[in-house]
Symmetry: C2
Subunit: 207 residues, 2 copies
């Protein structure tokens, strides 16, 4: 009600979206176990029972937040990659890292809620979320295999390990206190520099 909405957008959808957003924020701060329906309702200026008009229950609501978390990152990364279809394979990897990190930190509580709560969510939800994750991981598998096909990744580097290393160092930045003041874009460059050039290798300045 505090939000402007397009003519063609149903009030029902606006409320749903607001609930999902507030839930995401609470999940990031307090985690799955310590986010109650009454907390969520209060953040939405509602009462707990009213949430059941929009969602089947706590777990259904949270599952949707976490599902959307992956989908949003995936959508943004795919869009960026589509608009840079002719870039070099390694530049596409760097771009994907930049968008992934930016979405995590600036754009969406959904994504960080997913990352922080995934380990502690009920097993049946976690099971379904795995499928959603795999779709996004397919993007990275494709990125890295393409780079290898172009001869840009050494033969003795296991692509799965490389993928987990990249995802790991990026997602773990959520544990830092405010990313130590580094902008996500700079962070992506530095991570890329380390993972692909190697911390031991000096990189000659171009020009």
């Amino acid at each position: 009600m505090a939000q402007a909405r397009r003519k063609d957008e149903k009030l029902r959808d606006v409320s749903r979206r607001m609930i999902l957003e507030r839930t995401a924020r609470l999940l990031v701060r307090n985690g799955y176990g310590d986010t109650s329906l009454r907390d969520i309702a209060q953040a939405c200026d509602m009462k707990a029972g009213s949430l059941y008009y929009h969602f089947d229950g706590k777990d259904a609501l949270i599952e949707q937040v976490m599902t959307e978390g992956v989908r949003r990152v995936q959508a943004r990364v795919r869009d960026a990659l589509d608009q840079a279809a002719d870039a070099s394979p390694l530049d596409r990897v760097r771009l994907a890292m930049e968008v992934h990190l930016t979405t995590l930190h600036d754009k969406s509580d959904y994504a960080s809620a997913h990352i922080r709560c995934f380990p502690h969510v009920p097993a049946d939800i976690r099971q379904r979320l795995r499928s959603v994750r795999e779709e996004y991981e397919a993007v990275w598998i494709d990125l890295l295999e393409t780079a290898r096909g172009a001869g840009l990744i050494a033969a003795d580097v296991d692509l799965m390990t490389l993928r987990f290393a990249l995802i790991g160092m990026m997602n773990w930045t959520l544990e830092w206190p405010r990313v130590a003041g580094t902008r996500p874009t700079d962070l992506a460059d530095r991570f890329f520099r380390i993972a692909f050039e190697g911390a031991s290798h000096p990189v000659p300045q171009i020009g």
Copy 2:
């Protein structure tokens, strides 16, 4: 009671240790918010009220588990480094990675409990845990600065970013389903290979 104990070890300490261990396992599986004192007590063949003889309350118990989580990793890493005092700076980094990963996956639920629950633990506990973390991080800062001093890390690589990248890719392995069958030692080698030689650089075989 089900456990043999040394003559000089008080029963009190044995019980405390058992409670801490079972708590760590539950924390890893269920997280902070969904691990109740009755769950812990049941895992110890006790009743919830009895736990108060050993600990001041839930938060005190959990804080001690998580504190010990860092201390154990730190102790094992320091020991290994002391026994390899004359190794090259980069070999010492690789060794630290190996011990860190091994402890996380094979040796101790304390460490993984710490990593998984840290974001969702009450704020005052989290504050105190930060100091404990900083002590361990000092080990890594020293490792990397020494390597740089020996000219083994390129000048344009930010050491803080490198440290976060290493810690991040290692800690994130807890999110994989059983590390995908890779042994921690091999994992350490591959991570080291990527982060220091660079995924794009072919490494000439020695010999």
